[in-house]
């Protein structure tokens, strides 16, 4: 491929078929025909170099179809693509290193991996310039050659593919046989109706599934942060997709590495490579070393890889591989991770579906056998059996989960909770513990002055405004400070360290004019804190011509240099008792998690290096305040049976104060684990302890992972919040990683399952509530679908047993199952959360979504509906057509009303006051209208085999519906209520 555009006359065998449709390119090469291996190789090569394109290669026709994402203009590089394909087919062996093999000179080392090349060799190979980066022309050329730096993503199936998948299902196959049989027996109208029903059903399913798939495909969409790179001699912030081999990247803490790159220079550079190697601890990098060819990925200290994150230091690196050629791209291609994986619920439902198919298959055979024994015509038996099979087999159960989960995702998105993995919705519902990262999540990023101890009294700022000693103290603290006010876009803001800013803010709030104060006291000398000197002194001129020495710092150190004490009336000598009282106050403030600074002054001045004879003004206690919105969140989580655990790097005393303030331990003992070194604990011991710990104090960032794993070791479903770079591994390891939005780093967001864009922890409660509601909704839909299907089976089987042929005609069964059932089921999936959803403990994550008792209830409800309908059929005494009509309408109505019962697990009365589900009302109303229409119009009456109904018949149908609903409703309302999954006493 290095020979430039191929001379078209000689070897062009790949030809354009058409290029007219925007975003599509069709080519053909006869060499691909009957060469499945070649097709596969080409597909892989194209996917690796141009992940922005969807590729279809057919070994049957030799055609190559390329779809581009909208707006990327595949036609623009049509010729380049064609040439590339030409080369691929011509020399399939060369395919994999395509992104590396750049120049003729380079081919000699083609086999030499980048970590084994010196920096210069790497630079030369990529014709890169260290200082200036690539020029625009080079960039454009490389971009055309290598395509954008994008990894292939799971994509939504096309609408057609969804419809085809719908049509290729077992029920449709059965119905097709049924339609063929109808044609065969002369029932043209029947065949048409069957086909219409099939089309309608497939249409509805396609629309919902397509919607769900679009939602799922959009999960991965997350605008990546721009990356700092050098091009054209300037530093730019580039979208990661724009990178090409040869670009120079600038790495700094928080950077998410967007491509594989050879380090050119670095300083204390550490990366978290967990995404690639699973290693949780940051890895030290070294640009200068040269590694052996065979060095394993984890040891390649002179390389940085896509998907890893910079945790510390700086560095500069040369991009050597992008997109599918990166290590992570290769892994992805190897895993074939392009399809969204099935969630646990989907898998469970698949299993349930398979079981039901077998059970119902046997029942159908039994019904058919009964018919044969009575000597009924074979064809009619066959049609009945097939209709029953179609009616009774609950098709598409896994899709119920998919669509309901997708609805949940959209609900959350509306509340600015971004879900990045579908099964996170499901897991959220089962969360038993939430690990809260203190900094950023629980506390405000800024500090504030919480307590002042002056003149022998403990005061809160703002309440003792008039106290002259406090004013003096704040004034002095403001002078002995490097923080200052700056005009910002939102008025004045304070610039400086956390503690100094807190003091300045308190002084301002007390009404001190800082600018005037500073102006009146020009600084002569400032002696900062230093090693072994835990105080800071500022010598200033006083407006009256004298001097003043303002000092603040470590209380003990300062107190030792004081001889007098400021009191309201002036100053007096400092007694031993005063010193003890101040010492005790200091201890107490430190114990209340405050950062304590002493403030002292010398009215005449003196040497700021050797302060002496100072006047003690007081102690200031500075706090890192808890976010006010967090307290109710903690209460809400506790009410929902979710334990809260705080993880912090702070000392125990601070952590304890915050935990107590938040009520983290639900009013009981606050248990704090302060690990000197978590790694030194055996995992068993740690997990045993972790189970009962409320606060993990002095945890280093890397150890957060150990904490999460220790909690999980006991089978707990753990959610973890975080926003820092170092939270990455813990977020990833947690069952649900929650990144806190606004201030969160890219890394945290990249690995999290959920992103709370508002930075408000309340989103966590909402997310759990929605997760639980979604789980509950899936159960509701299942209950509805399986019990209504069971009712149809029960009716037909029961009728067979008492010697009735066809209690419902095949078309009636289809109508019932494929039309009336569908909309209530969809509506149940959209049901709003039940009021008490956050008042109960999480469901047992190990229990199946439908337990034994759930199945018992479902079958019982189905039997009731079926039995009542059968009774309705028998009531008109010997007129099968009328009986059938009554049973058909009765069962349909019963099923529609049953949807109302399915809204709640706890019985029909528990839902009082719940907002109505408008979709369900619509579905039920629509269903009733449909039945009425079918009965009213002669044509549908004829098609469905309905006979006209008198008042008695209508009353009969209504009676069936009422009786079945009442019976099921009463049983559901009986204590003990059916709680979600077992263990529970049997209620039937």
């Amino acid at each position: 491929m290095e020979t430039g555009p191929a001379p078209s006359t000689v070897c062009v065998q790949t030809v354009f078929v058409h290029v007219a449709v925007a975003g599509r390119l069709r080519l053909r090469d006869r060499r691909l025909m009957r060469r499945a291996d070649l097709c596969r190789a080409l597909r892989v090569a194209l996917a690796a170099t141009r992940p922005d394109l969807a590729v279809e290669v057919s070994s049957l026709t030799g055609s190559i179809l390329l779809h581009a994402a909208p707006g990327t203009g595949a036609q623009a590089d049509a010729e380049a693509l064609r040439a590339f394909i030409e080369d691929c087919i011509g020399a399939p062996g060369d395919l994999p290193p395509v992104a590396h093999a750049l120049s003729a000179a380079d081919t000699a080392h083609a086999a030499l991996p980048w970590h084994a090349r010196s920096r210069d060799a790497a630079r030369d190979a990529l014709q890169a310039c260290d200082d200036g980066g690539l020029t625009d022309t080079e960039t454009a050329e490389r971009r055309a050659r290598f395509g954008p730096n994008l990894l292939p993503k799971p994509r939504a199936r096309s609408t057609l593919a969804v419809i085809v998948a719908q049509l290729a299902s077992l029920p449709v196959a059965l119905l097709s046989v049924s339609a063929a049989l109808a044609l065969f027996t002369g029932g043209l109208a029947d065949a048409v109706v069957i086909i219409c029903v099939v089309a309608l059903n497939a249409g509805i399913a396609s629309v919902t599934e397509h919607q769900a798939e679009r939602t799922i495909a959009s999960l991965a969409d997350f605008a990546p942060q721009p990356i700092k790179a050098i091009r054209q001699g300037a530093m730019l912030a580039l979208p990661p997709a724009d990178l090409v081999p040869g670009d120079i990247l600038l790495l700094e803490p928080g950077t998410l590495v967007p491509a594989d790159a050879r380090l050119l220079a670095c300083e204390n550079l550490t990366l978290n490579e967990a995404a690639l190697t699973g290693e949780a601890m940051p890895v030290q990098k070294d640009a200068a070393i040269l590694l052996a060819d065979a060095a394993p990925l984890a040891d390649r200290a002179n390389m940085v890889f896509r998907g890893t994150a910079v945790t510390g230091g700086q560095g500069r690196a040369l991009v050597v591989a992008i997109a599918g050629a990166t290590e992570i791209g290769k892994v992805q291609a190897m895993l074939g991770a392009l399809e969204a994986p099935q969630t646990p619920i989907e898998r469970q439902l698949g299993e349930i579906e398979r079981e039901l198919v077998v059970v119902n298959g046997v029942i159908c055979l039994a019904v058919a056998a009964l018919g044969l024994m009575r000597g009924e015509p074979v064809l009619s038996i066959l049609r009945s059996a097939i209709s029953l099979a179609v009616a009774a087999i609950p098709e598409g159960l896994p899709a119920v989960a998919t669509t309901t989960l997708a609805v949940g995702v959209q609900d959350m998105r509306a509340r600015q909770i971004y879900v990045r993995r579908l099964d996170a919705v499901e897991t959220l519902g089962a969360v038993e513990m939430v690990c809260l990262d203190k900094t950023g999540t629980l506390t405000l990023p800024s500090m504030s002055l919480a307590e002042i101890h002056a003149d022998g009294r403990l005061m809160r700022p703002g309440t003792d405004a008039a106290d002259p000693v406090v004013l003096r103290l704040l004034e002095t603290a403001a002078l002995a400070s490097e923080a200052h006010m700056e005009d910002g876009p939102h008025g004045q803001r304070i610039v400086g360290s956390g503690t100094e800013s807190a003091l300045i803010a308190a002084a301002r709030d007390q009404g001190l004019d800082l600018a005037a104060l500073r102006a009146a006291h020009p600084v002569l000398e400032l002696v900062p804190r230093a090693e072994g000197r835990k105080r800071m002194s500022v010598l200033v001129d006083r407006p009256d011509g004298g001097r003043l020495l303002a000092v603040k710092g470590d209380p003990a150190e300062l107190l030792a240099r004081c001889t007098r004490l400021a009191v309201t009336e002036g100053t007096r000598p400092l007694t031993e008792a005063d010193r003890r009282a101040i010492g005790a106050a200091n201890e107490g403030m430190a114990g209340r998690a405050l950062r304590v600074l002493g403030v002292a002054v010398h009215d005449v001045g003196g040497d700021p290096h050797a302060e002496a004879d100072l006047v003690w003004l007081g102690l200031t206690g500075i706090a890192n305040p808890v976010r006010p919105e967090v307290r109710p969140v903690v209460v809400a989580l506790h009410r929902a049976g979710i334990r809260t655990v705080m993880i912090t790097g702070d000392q125990s005393a601070t952590a304890y104060a915050v935990a107590k303030d938040l009520g983290l331990a639900e009013g009981s003992d606050v248990r704090v684990l302060e690990a000197g070194r978590l790694a030194g604990l055996s995992p068993d011991v740690l997990s045993a302890i972790a189970e009962n710990t409320d606060v993990f104090a002095r945890v280093s960032p890397g150890e957060k992972l150990s904490v999460v794993q220790a909690l999980q070791a006991r089978g707990r479903i753990v959610a973890m919040t975080g926003d820092g770079i170092n939270d990455g591994p813990a977020l990833k390891a947690a069952n649900v990683g929650v990144a806190m939005g606004a201030d969160g780093t890219d890394v945290a967001r990249e690995v999290a399952d959920i992103v709370l864009a508002t930075d408000d922890l309340n989103g966590m409660v909402e997310a759990v509530a929605l997760g639980r509601a979604t789980y509950a909704n899936i159960r509701k839909v299942l209950r509805y679908l399986v019990s209504t299907n069971a009712s149809e089976t029960a009716l037909v089987l029961g009728a067979g047993l008492v010697g009735i042929r066809e209690p419902l005609t095949p078309l009636q069964l289809l109508m019932l199952n494929l039309v009336s059932d569908v909309f209530p089921a969809l509506a149940l999936g959209l049901d709003a959360p039940e009021a008490g959803v956050m008042d109960v403990p999480p469901h047992d994550p190990a229990a199946p979504i439908l337990g034994r008792s759930d199945f018992r209830r479902i079958i019982r409800e189905g039997l009731v509906m079926g039995a009542v309908s059968l009774a309705g059929y028998l009531a008109p005494a010997g007129v099968p057509a009328t009986g059938r009509t009554v049973a058909f309408h009765g069962l349909t109505l019963a099923q529609l009303l049953h949807a109302l019962l399915c809204r709640s697990d706890a019985g029909p009365l528990s839902g009082a006051g719940r907002p109505a589900n408008p979709y369900l009302a619509l579905a039920i109303g629509g269903g009733i209208a449909l039945q009425a229409t079918a009965q009213a119009l002669p044509v549908t009456r004829r098609l469905l085999g309905l006979s006209p109904l008198g008042l008695g018949g209508m009353a009969g149908a209504l009676a069936i519906a009422a009786a079945a609903t009442m019976a099921n409703g009463v049983v559901a309302a009986l204590p003990p209520p059916l709680a979600p999954p077992p263990p529970e006493p049997a209620s039937c």
Partner: protein, 383 residues
């Protein structure tokens, strides 16, 4: 209690013994709370296992203490730094709960909050009126602790046992001494024995008439030398060394722990008061040996009963002695606390922590209020 010819063994341990370490952490917490708030009511318990320190503290009052930092300091000062169990790397699990009960010192008529048998004992074995075996054991344990300063192979964890022969109710000889100490590095047994004999045995008995004789058997690390020892090797718990804290099992003691309880607890100060009473009886020359027993019941301030047992050595009827004690002393918990100096006044820093090791009664080094029986002895003599 004593037959004419018997051997009695008592033991003591060094600060680094895990049980004592727990006692010391607990009492250091009591001190820290009371230093900030002399009226704080605090109970702290501690356990150490598999390198994890568990601390449970229940308190009321205004104080706030960084317990893990304090625990680390105690562990480091006991000598656990570096190899084996390390103060800096230990994991510390604290369970705090703030009691909603009363704070402040006990009122004079505040009833007992526990059902307690408070025992006190004194005998003429030694000058401070303590049984000879425990007195000897504490001296040895102190010497063993001190020896770490000169012989750096000794680990902080050590235990001594002393067996004393009694003849005619008087201690006459030390028959056996066993010294168990963990080591920081392997030391040849002969060298170890040599070092311990000169550094521990000799100074411990230097100024005492009852000392080891040539017939005394000395066992050094009878169970084999242990490397590091301490919490890395065996678990510890507050209150498991109640015998060492009191009379070395020579006399009765209450089953409940002394260490870790603030002086608002009658089960901590009751035994001190009983010791005061018993010591006064013996010091007044009214008996050779005396045991005082006060029985407290929940909800009552006055003890249910106050009895004296002189083991047949009394010069007055025991009932008379008991009556005299009841008259001379106010036994209500609040009054006991006041008598012993726990009425909200500040103590010397580290008061309780110092008690955690080497016994809480019969100490000569701390000027303890319950050892000062001059006045009381006089009153009893006069009564």
């Amino acid at each position: 209690m004593l037959t004419d010819d018997m051997i009695f063994t008592s033991e003591s341990v060094t600060r680094g013994h895990p049980d004592k370490l727990c006692d010391e952490i607990s009492d250091a917490i009591v001190d820290a709370f009371r230093e900030q708030d002399p009226g704080a009511r605090i109970v702290a318990e501690c356990a150490i296992a598999t390198g994890v320190v568990f601390v449970a503290a229940r308190f009321s009052g205004t104080a706030a203490v960084d317990i893990p930092a304090l625990a680390r300091r105690v562990i480091a000062e006991a000598g656990y730094e570096g190899a084996g169990f390390d103060a800096r790397r230990a994991s510390i699990l604290t369970s705090f709960s703030e009691g909603d009960g009363r704070a402040g010192p006990l009122d004079a008529d505040e009833p007992a909050h526990e059902q307690v048998n408070a025992f006190g004992f004194a005998c003429r074995d030694t000058a401070v009126l303590m049984p000879a075996p425990i007195a000897a054991a504490h001296r040895l344990a102190r010497a063993l602790e001190a020896a770490r300063g000169t012989f750096d192979a000794l680990a902080p964890d050590g235990k001594v046992q002393v067996s004393v022969r009694y003849r005619g109710h008087h201690p006459v000889a030390i028959t056996d001494v066993s010294l168990t100490t963990a080591l920081l590095r392997p030391v040849p047994p002969a060298q170890l024995e040599e070092a311990l004999r000169t550094l521990v045995l000799a100074p411990a008995f230097a100024e005492h008439d009852l000392g080891p004789s040539p017939q005394t058997r000395v066992h050094i690390n009878p169970g084999g030398a242990q490397l590091f020892g301490g919490p890395a090797h065996h678990a510890g718990q507050t209150g498991r060394k109640a015998g060492i804290d009191t009379y070395g099992d020579f006399a009765r003691q209450s089953g409940s722990a002394l260490c870790g309880k603030g002086p608002h607890r009658i089960d901590r100060i009751g035994p001190y008061m009983a010791r005061l009473a018993a010591k006064a009886v013996v010091a007044a020359g009214l008996a050779e040996r005396a045991e005082v027993h006060a029985a407290y019941a929940i909800g009552r301030a006055e003890p249910l009963s106050l009895t004296v047992d002189t083991f047949g050595t009394g010069r007055r009827p025991e009932a008379d002695l008991a009556r005299a004690l009841a008259e001379a002393l106010d036994w209500r918990p609040g009054a006991v606390a006041a008598r012993l100096g726990f009425d909200g006044r500040a103590h010397a820093p580290g008061f309780f922590r110092a008690l955690a090791c080497y016994g809480q009664v019969g100490r000569e080094d701390r000027g303890l209020p319950w050892e000062d029986v001059g006045d009381l002895a006089q009153i009893l003599r006069a009564a």
